[in-house]
Structure formats: structure tokens, C-alpha cells
């Protein structure tokens, strides 16, 4: 018992030391397990991988089920910098076909973006590279392949109409939570207007990975995973054959064709020339090709003339004035105005070409008499029973607007322009209030002056006449998805303020244009057509040739507007093109190969 009792109290000191360490450990445990969160977050970063599953974008078909836009698998090489470990850089670069400097640069960029989030290392690696890469991927920690789809165009037609997709920019990412940097979005055309249908819904897979970045399974058995939903397929109203034909007719010309089915407002074809190959604006080629197209100031191929170009409608506008004039009660089927090579009143002279005189309404259209429409318009503005010219003009304007002129349609097309039907305020400002009358603005009668229309509005105008008084908003998508959702906007009838009964003489006149008038050379035997020539004055050079056409005369199936810039009188270029379009659509054969050949081969690109 000698030592035993002497130092027994020291056992308490030793127990105290033991207890002290235990308390320190418990406090430390409390700190890292309960108090701070950073270890929990680090643990998630260690083990969880958020894998986005990109849905297939909706496909786009023409009205007959022909494929216009398809998807093609593409493989992006992604990198998560934090997981990158040492690798055989030379072999890696060799596979990708880049040098080490580029490798280091891209890795640094990715690191600067985020150590934890993945970013694109190489976009759209070719299929054969992908196959070789896939085999070696296990060697490259931190790299993985993300499957995506890019667009493919089996026919390479209708670039402006279909539009293109590209990466979202920062402001979109900020505004719309759905998009993450690097995602694709429709930038123009129906890719843009139908973006929310086409894109589908991204899916998310939360995977657990081990220390070697190997997938070990779904986090919580996939409870938080979401599946990707493919986008809706779109069936457009476009007739691919007609569209392709129209593009061929317009090659080497500047201008546009718009063809509408009058009974529905469905756009059958919409050509803008010069155009580009839609396949050029796909994936990794996009940026380079886009700036090339953008810099092509001579041809401005990105410019969609069918929606964005605004022309004075010229004589085609006479058909509309003939209708409005009847409704306003200043003219009727028997009204005759004389024409002595033009219209002269109050020191004003509007010239006209030589034709018999006087002409009635039907003949005025057939021969496109300027004097007739100057008289009619003068009467509409100044002598139609309104208090003054201002009110007369307002009434005229309202009628005109009811045809769909002067403002954008509530349609499904992107980047459309308004056109212009001048306001009375504009003239008040320009001439002074009360200091302008019908004669002051007489050029509106023949579609010149301040009035501007887009080719789409022009085609719609033709459709209105074809329908004898109403239209449906021109649109390009018939059905969304396989169930066939139809936008209610497009089945609502828009009736003009001009009564149906006034249309017959105009239709008859337009028929005579083809049978024995200004458009007779473009007439097609066997199908009664109704057309109207026009010439848009161009202060910068040669006038633009305009033609509107619908056929058959009764129960029309197609209404077309054609504009060929710098080609002069409407009958020379625009009329044959419109006529061929109608023939192609209605009969699917061309009986006038000479005319077709002349159009195909006509090169007006040098014309000014």
C-alpha cells in the first residue's frame, strides 16, 4: 500500500484530463455537425452531380407532313474543373484536334466560370471523334459528354420563316429561370414565336458519384429526378413544294412572294430573296456564318422582305380604293370617269397611259386607269358627305385598315413590320390643320405617297378580295403537337367594313386584268384568275414590280403577292412569277416552260 495511497488523488487529475479531451471532442463535433453548414454543402458537392437532360426540340412539318426541320444528335464535351485530375494532355488534345495552349486556355475559362458547375469544353464534337472519345473518357476525370440535338433541314428551304436557334444570352438567362447559360433558344422565325412549345421541358437527373466520379446511382432513388419532355411538333401551313418552287423563281432577284390560302389565312409559301441556307446557321458554324451573312450588305440575306420590307402598293391599291369608294357611296358599278392621258385638277396632273376613255369601274381595274382613281379618291375624301376632308379621310382610312393594312397582324410571325397608312395627324402636321384636301393627298389613290404595305399585307389584301370581304389572320402554324391544338386567334373571322356585294365588280375587273388587261401575258388558260399589276415608285432606282393574284376566280384556293425589286412594271416579272406559283399550287404542273425558264434564269441582282 505504499505508493497506492500516496498518490491516489492523482487519479482524479487523470480522469479530469480524460474528461477534458472528451468534452473538447464533443464541442468540436457539435461545431462541425450541428453549427456550421459548409460541410454538408461540401458533402453534396462531393457526391451529387446534376445532369441536365435536354429534351428533343419539336420537329417542324409542312402542311402535308413533309419534314422541314429535324433534329440531329450532337455531342458537347463538358468539363467540371474541380474534378479534373492529371491526364494525358497530349493524347486528349490529339483526340480533339486542339493544341495544348487551347486546352489550357479553355480549362482556365471553365475554371473562371465555376469550379463546381460544368461548362462546355468543346461544342458539337463530330460523331467519329465522339466514338473514340467515349472509349477513353474514363481516363479523363471531370470530363463528360452531354448529348444535345441540333437542327437539320432536309430541304434547306424557308430560312426566314423557320428562323434559327442559338445560345441564350445573359439577359435572357437573367429574366427567365428556365434557361441556363449555354442553352439554346429560338432567335427568329417560328423557332422564336413557338419557342415555348418547341423547347419541351428539360429533365434533371441527380446522380451520386464516388470519389472517382463514377456514377453510383440516382440520388434518393431518383425521387428528385425529372424526366425531359420533348417539345411539341409543329405542323405548319407551308407547302414545301410551293415554297421551294417560289424560292427557285426568286433566285437572283430581290423581292418576296407571299401565298395565302384565303379560306383559312394559312400561309402556303413565304419567300424572301436573297436568302441563305438554313443549315448554315446551325451549331458551331452559326457564329461565323451569321456574321458573314450580316456583313453581306449588298444582298442583306438575313432581311426578311416578306415581313420587313415596306413598299408603296402602287396600282394594286386601286382594287382596295374601288371597294372603299363603293362603300363610301361615291362610285358604283356604272361610274365613269374620263381620262386624257391622266388626271388634271387644280394645277395638279397625274399621268396615265393610253387607253379608251371613259371607263367604268370594272374597266378601270382592267386598264389600271390613274385618272379614274384620282377622281374616285378625290370624291371619297372631299365629297362623301362628311363634314370636311379630314373626316372623309378618317372614314377612308378606317375602311383601308379593315383590310389589315397599316399595322402588324396578331400573327405567329416574328419581326413583322407595320406598313403605313398615314394618319390625319400626320397631314395636319405636314400641311397644317384644315389646309389639306383630297387633292393634296391624291397619290394615295394610286397607291403612292405615304402609304406603305408589306408583302404579307398585300397578299392578305388579295385574300380579302378573294373571300369577298373577310380574312383570317395570316399564320404559319396549323397545329401544335399531335393532338392538333389550334390557336383560337386564327379561326376568328375578320370582316372588312366594305360590304360583300361591292366585291363582284372588283373581282370581275381583276379577272379582266388577266384575260385582257395589264396582266394578260401572265394569264393561264383553263383557270380563271384575278390579278392586279402594280409598280412601286422607287426614288433610289428602278421601280419595283408588284403583282397580286388569286385563283380560281370562284372559290379561290390561293392568293399571292409578288414583289420583284428594281424590275420595273408589274407585268414583266412579278405577274409571271405569281401566275406560275398559282399554277404550281393548283395543278402541280407547269404548262408554260418558257415563262418558267425565263423566270428561273432572270438575274436582276445587278439592277438598280
Amino acid at each position: 500500500m505504499r505508493i497506492n495511497t500516496r498518490h491516489q488523488d492523482r487519479s482524479y487529475i487523470i480522469i479530469a484530463i480524460f474528461a477534458f479531451v472528451a468534452v473538447v471532442f464533443i464541442l468540436r463535433l457539435f461545431y462541425i455537425q450541428v453549427l456550421v453548414d459548409k460541410y454538408k454543402l461540401s458533402a453534396e458537392n462531393n457526391v451529387l452531380r446534376y445532369v441536365t437532360i435536354y429534351p428533343d426540340r419539336g420537329l417542324i412539318f409542312d402542311r402535308n407532313g413533309k419534314s422541314l426541320v429535324e433534329n440531329e444528335a450532337s455531342y458537347d464535351l463538358m468539363v467540371t474543373p474541380r474534378h479534373v485530375s492529371e491526364l494525358d494532355t497530349l493524347e486528349f488534345c490529339d483526340l480533339l484536334g486542339i493544341d495544348t495552349a487551347a486546352f489550357n486556355k479553355r480549362l482556365t475559362e471553365a475554371k473562371n466560370y465555376s469550379m463546381y458547375k460544368s461548362s462546355v469544353f468543346e461544342k458539337e464534337i463530330p460523331k467519329e471523334v465522339y466514338a473514340r472519345f467515349q472509349e477513353k473518357l474514363y481516363k479523363y476525370n471531370g470530363f463528360y459528354i452531354q448529348r444535345r440535338t441540333v437542327r437539320r433541314y432536309p430541304h434547306n428551304i424557308a430560312p426566314h420563316l423557320l428562323g434559327y436557334i442559338g445560345e441564350v444570352n445573359a439577359s435572357i438567362v437573367e429574366k427567365d429561370k428556365y434557361y441556363k447559360s449555354g442553352d439554346y433558344i429560338g432567335i427568329s422565325g417560328i423557332e422564336k414565336t413557338y419557342e415555348k412549345y418547341l423547347r419541351g421541358r428539360k429533365g434533371l437527373r441527380i446522380m451520386m458519384v464516388d470519389v472517382f466520379n463514377r456514377e453510383k446511382g440516382h440520388y434518393k432513388e431518383g425521387r428528385y429526378d425529372t424526366i425531359a419532355l420533348s417539345g411539341f411538333n409543329l405542323t405548319t401551313t407551308i407547302d414545301a413544294i410551293l415554297q421551294e418552287y417560289g424560292e427557285k423563281l426568286m433566285q437572283n432577284k430581290k423581292g418576296s412572294i407571299v401565298a395565302i390560302e384565303p379560306a383559312t389565312g394559312e400561309i402556303l409559301a413565304m419567300v424572301s430573296s436573297p436568302a441563305y441556307n438554313p443549315s448554315d446557321l446551325v451549331g458551331r458554324k452559326l457564329r461565323e456564318n451569321f456574321s458573314k451573312l450580316q456583313n453581306d450588305t449588298a444582298r442583306i440575306p438575313l432581311y426578311n422582305r416578306a415581313l420587313q420590307a415596306q413598299y408603296p402598293p402602287g396600282s394594286t391599291f386601286k382594287t382596295i380604293n374601288a371597294l372603299v369608294g363603293q362603300q363610301m357611296g361615291v362610285i358604283n358599278i356604272n361610274t365613269r370617269f374620263g381620262c386624257a392621258h391622266g388626271f388634271t385638277a387644280g394645277g395638279l396632273h397625274v399621268g396615265c397611259h393610253g387607253h379608251a376613255s371613259p371607263l367604268n369601274l370594272v374597266q378601270s381595274i382592267q386598264h389600271s386607269c390613274n385618272a379614274w382613281y384620282c377622281n374616285a379618291f378625290w370624291a371619297m375624301i372631299d365629297r362623301s358627305g362628311y363634314k370636311n376632308s379630314h373626316d372623309g379621310f378618317v372614314a377612308w382610312r378606317n375602311h383601308i385598315m379593315s383590310f389589315g393594312f397599316g399595322k402588324k397582324f396578331d400573327d405567329d410571325l416574328s419581326n413583322e413590320y407595320n406598313g403605313n397608312i398615314p394618319t390625319p395627324e400626320y397631314y395636319d402636321k405636314y400641311h397644317g390643320a384644315g389646309r389639306w384636301k383630297g387633292l393634296t393627298i391624291i397619290s394615295l389613290s394610286i397607291g403612292q405617297g405615304e402609304v406603305l404595305v408589306t408583302p404579307l399585307q398585300l397578299a392578305n389584301g388579295a385574300a380579302v378580295i378573294a373571300n369577298r370581304g373577310y380574312y383570317y389572320i395570316p399564320h404559319v402554324v396549323k397545329r401544335i403537337g399531335d393532338k392538333g391544338f389550334v390557336d383560337p386567334r386564327f379561326i376568328e373571322k375578320h370582316v372588312t367594313t366594305v360590304e360583300s356585294k361591292y366585291y363582284d365588280p372588283v373581282v370581275e375587273g381583276m379577272n379582266l386584268v388577266m384575260e385582257a388587261g395589264t396582266g394578260h401575258r401572265a394569264n393561264l388558260k383553263g383557270i380563271p384568275m384575278c390579278g392586279k399589276t402594280g409598280t412601286a415608285q422607287n426614288p433610289h432606282g428602278k421601280d419595283h414590280s408588284i403583282f397580286v393574284l388569286f385563283a380560281p376566280m370562284d372559290n379561290p384556293k390561293i392568293a399571292v403577292s409578288v414583289i420583284v425589286e428594281n424590275s420595273g412594271f408589274g407585268a414583266t416579272w412579278a405577274a409571271p412569277i405569281a401566275s406560275l406559283m398559282v399554277e404550281k399550287y393548283l395543278t402541280d404542273t407547269i404548262t408554260r416552260p418558257d415563262m418558267e425558264k425565263r423566270m428561273f434564269e432572270g438575274n436582276l441582282m445587278g439592277a438598280k
Binding site: F18, V21, A43, D210, V211
Partner: protein
């Protein structure tokens, strides 16, 4: 007085319960740490948990053998054990196998034996035997030299095997010596030197020496009697401490190996390198921290299951506990260890035999040392030193060695009533 009639009489069941609790919970955590969908069976002997099951069963056999052996056998053969183990420590240096840089294994068939593990109980027996002899006083210089050599010999032999962790375990006998009458200042000095070592690496040397001198001067003027002797003592302390501080650099750069330096640098926060040396500790903290209050549940730990923590079935087994059982489970484990160690101390103090008491203190000290270093390392408050958590870590030698250590004590204790 009840004499021991069967081998289970007078056994401290509290300790036996603690042993089973730790071993079984340890095994569960090994199962979780190396859990693999393809090998779910606990009897899959190709997996660590299967093997550990063998180690547990054989350990129980060993425990039984120890219990039926006469208690006097251990003190009688203490030196023989010590001699045998010391011999094997030397032998392993010559004919042993290298595993992860340490030449400390005998390979016998599929199993590997690490003699360093057995040096603990042998040394403990020898120290207990020597200190319990009549006419031994720890305050005598000769005694210190003899006990010191009992400890230095295995320490050096294991150091030569390049197994720093197992070597420095023998430092823990300072608690035993303290209890047996060694001046408390030795304990204080030990703590003081360790403190100075880290401070010297962290703080500018002259600042540190200035602080030491200042504190010493204050203590001298305010607390101590102003005698010449005290002045000499305090001056000696200041000079000694300063010398130590200046030699730390030398120890650090010349004596320690680079991986040891790195570990210390990481610990004191001089290096931040999550992929390098600090990786283990960082991942360990992440695993434990992610357990939260209640833990993720058995087999639900992602960090350990997917191998983010290295050595998770051996040195970093505490991560599995922390991640899957959370703060609650971890605290319970800490309590179980504390309970066991305190219980051993209490039992030691009730012994009539000096041998048993000293042995008990040795056992508690060894457990304490392993527990402190291992858990402290997993929690990132001590440098990374590879040393198993008693009863928990995967490994036959370790479990056998602790079982032997532990049950010899149980046996010695159960025999106490047979002594006069």
C-alpha cells in the same frame, strides 16, 4: 470474501459490456464503410467486414483463453512476453513485409500480423511488473532509467519500422508514471513543450520568447517567493524554453520527414491544399460534418460509401460514425470511450495489487492515447497520425492486441479478491 470459483466470477461486467458495445458498433461501421451492393452477406470473407468477423470471433477465443489462464501467469511471465515481442520487433525489420511505407508486418498466409500492436500489452506487463517490485521508487534516478528503457526500446524499434503512430503510443506511459509518483512537472513539461512546438511554428520566435520571458517575470514577481533559488529556476525555464523554441526549426526541418511536416503545416493552417495533404482531413471533416445532428442513417453515408474518405475502415473509421450516426451517435461513442477509461481507472484504484493497478493505468493510458489521436485527427484538431481507434478500426492485429490488453486486465481484476 468471495474467492473466484469459476472463471466468470467477479468479472467486471460493466467493462465487458463496454467491450462488446464498442466491438459490435465498430464492426457495423466497418460494414457500412466498405459496404458494397454486390457483397451484402456479412459472412463474405473476401470483404473487410467478413474478415473482421473472423477477427472478432478469434478475439473472443483469445479473451476466453485469457480468462481461464491463472492470473499469476501474467506477472510471472511479464518479462518473457516483453522479450519475445521485442525480439519480433527486431525480426520484422529483417524479414517483415512493407505495407504503405512501414516495414512492420509478418505475412502468414492470407493474414498479416503486426508485432508493434503486441508491443503495447507486453510493455505494459513489463512496466507493471517492474514498478510493482518492492523497494522501487519512481523518484529514484535508476528506476527512471530502467522504466525509460522499457519504453524507449519498443519506441525506437517501431520508429525504425517507419510506423510513427504506433511508436509514439509509448509516450502515454507518462500517465502511469505520474500516477506512480513521478513529479507532476514532467507531465506539465510535456504539455508545455508540445504547446511551444506548435507556437514556435506559428508565431515569430522573438515574440514568443518575449512572451515567455514576460510571463515568467510576472509569475516570479507576483506569485513566487523572491528567493535566489526561485530566480535561478525561473531563469532556467526561460533559457530552456528559448533554446527549445530555437531548436524547433531544426527539429522541424531536419528531424521530421516531409510528410510529417506537411501534416503539421496543414493542421496549423499554414497550407491550404484540399487535394493534397489536407485532403484526408478535409474529407474527414466533410463526412463527419455532413452527418448533422441525427446522422444519415446506417448504410446511408455517401461520403464514406463512395470512398471520399481514405482509410475509412481503419484510421478514419470515425468518419463513418460521424456521417451515419450524426452528433448523437458520435457523442455516444465518445461517452462509451470515456466511460471505459474512467471505469478502468476506478477499478485500478480498488486493487490491492500494485501490479494490477499499474497495468490498469497502462491500459487506460494506451486507450486514451489512441482515442485522442485518432478522433482528434478525424476531427481535424490533431495532425494526421496513422493509429487505429481501439475496438473500432478494421484490422486483426489491432483488435487482438486490444482484446489481450483488455482481458488481461479483466482477469487480473477478477482475481483481486483472491489476494490478501
Amino acid at each position: 470474501m468471495r474467492e473466484q470459483r469459476t472463471i466468470f466470477d467477479n468479472i467486471d461486467w460493466q467493462l465487458v459490456f463496454l467491450y462488446f458495445a464498442l466491438v459490435l458498433f465498430g464492426w457495423m461501421n466497418i460494414y457500412a464503410a466498405v459496404y458494397n451492393e454486390d457483397h451484402k452477406s456479412i459472412f463474405d470473407f473476401s470483404q473487410q467486414y467478413g474478415k473482421q468477423l473472423i477477427w472478432i470471433v478469434t478475439s473472443l477465443v483469445l479473451a476466453l483463453i485469457i480468462l481461464i489462464t491463472d492470473a499469476k501467469f501474467y506477472s510471472a511471465f511479464a518479462y518473457v512476453f516483453f522479450g519475445l515481442v521485442m525480439f519480433s520487433l527486431v525480426a520484422v525489420l529483417v524479414i517483415g513485409n512493407k505495407t504503405s511505407g512501414a516495414q512492420s508486418w509478418f505475412e502468414i498466409g492470407a493474414f498479416k500480423i503486426q508485432p508493434a500492436e503486441f508491443a503495447k500489452f507486453a510493455t505494459n506487463l513489463a512496466v507493471a511488473k517492474y514498478l510493482s517490485m518492492q523497494n522501487i521508487n519512481i523518484r529514484q534516478f535508476r528506476t527512471k532509467v530502467v522504466v525509460g528503457s522499457f519504453l524507449i526500446f519498443p519506441l525506437l524499434a517501431i520508429l525504425l519500422q517507419n510506423d510513427t503512430g504506433s511508436a509514439i503510443v509509448f509516450v502515454c506511459f507518462v500517465f502511469v508514471l505520474y500516477r506512480e509518483g513521478l513529479s507532476g512537472s514532467v507531465l506539465l513539461m510535456g504539455v508545455g513543450l508540445a504547446f511551444l512546438f506548435f507556437m514556435a511554428l506559428l508565431v515569430e520566435k522573438f515574440v514568443l520568447i518575449g512572451v515567455i520571458a514576460g510571463v515568467s517575470a510576472l509569475v516570479y514577481y507576483l506569485v513566487m517567493k523572491k528567493t535566489r533559488k526561485n530566480l535561478i529556476i525561473i531563469s532556467a525555464i526561460v533559457v530552456g524554453a528559448s533554446g527549445f523554441v530555437y531548436s524547433v526549426d531544426k527539429i522541424f526541418t531536419d528531424v521530421l520527414e516531409s510528410h510529417q511536416k506537411d501534416r503539421i503545416n496543414v493542421l496549423i493552417g499554414k497550407e491550404v491544399d484540399p487535394k493534397g495533404v489536407g485532403y484526408n482531413v478535409n474529407q474527414s471533416k466533410i463526412a463527419i460534418g455532413s452527418g448533422g445532428f441525427m446522422g444519415k442513417g446506417f448504410l446511408q453515408g455517401t461520403q464514406t460509401k463512395y470512398d471520399f474518405v481514405p482509410e475509412q475502415s481503419t484510421d478514419f473509421i470515425f468518419c463513418t460514425i460521424g456521417e451515419e450516426w450524426g452528433f448523437v451517435g458520435s457523442t455516444i461513442v465518445v461517452f462509451l470511450f470515456l466511460w471505459m477509461m474512467v471505469r478502468i481507472i476506478i477499478i485500478s484504484e480498488r486493487q490491492r495489487s500494485d501490479f494490477t493497478r499499474i497495468y490498469g493505468y497502462g491500459l487506460a493510458s494506451i486507450l486514451f492515447f489512441h482515442f485522442t489521436i485518432n478522433v482528434g485527427m478525424a476531427l481535424g484538431i490533431l495532425p494526421v497520425i496513422g493509429i487505429p481507434l481501439p475496438f473500432f478500426s478494421y484490422g486483426g492485429s489491432s483488435l487482438w492486441s486490444f482484446t489481450i490488453l483488455f482481458f488481461i486486465f479483466i482477469k487480473l481484476d477478477s482475481y483481486r479478491l483472491n489476494l490478501l
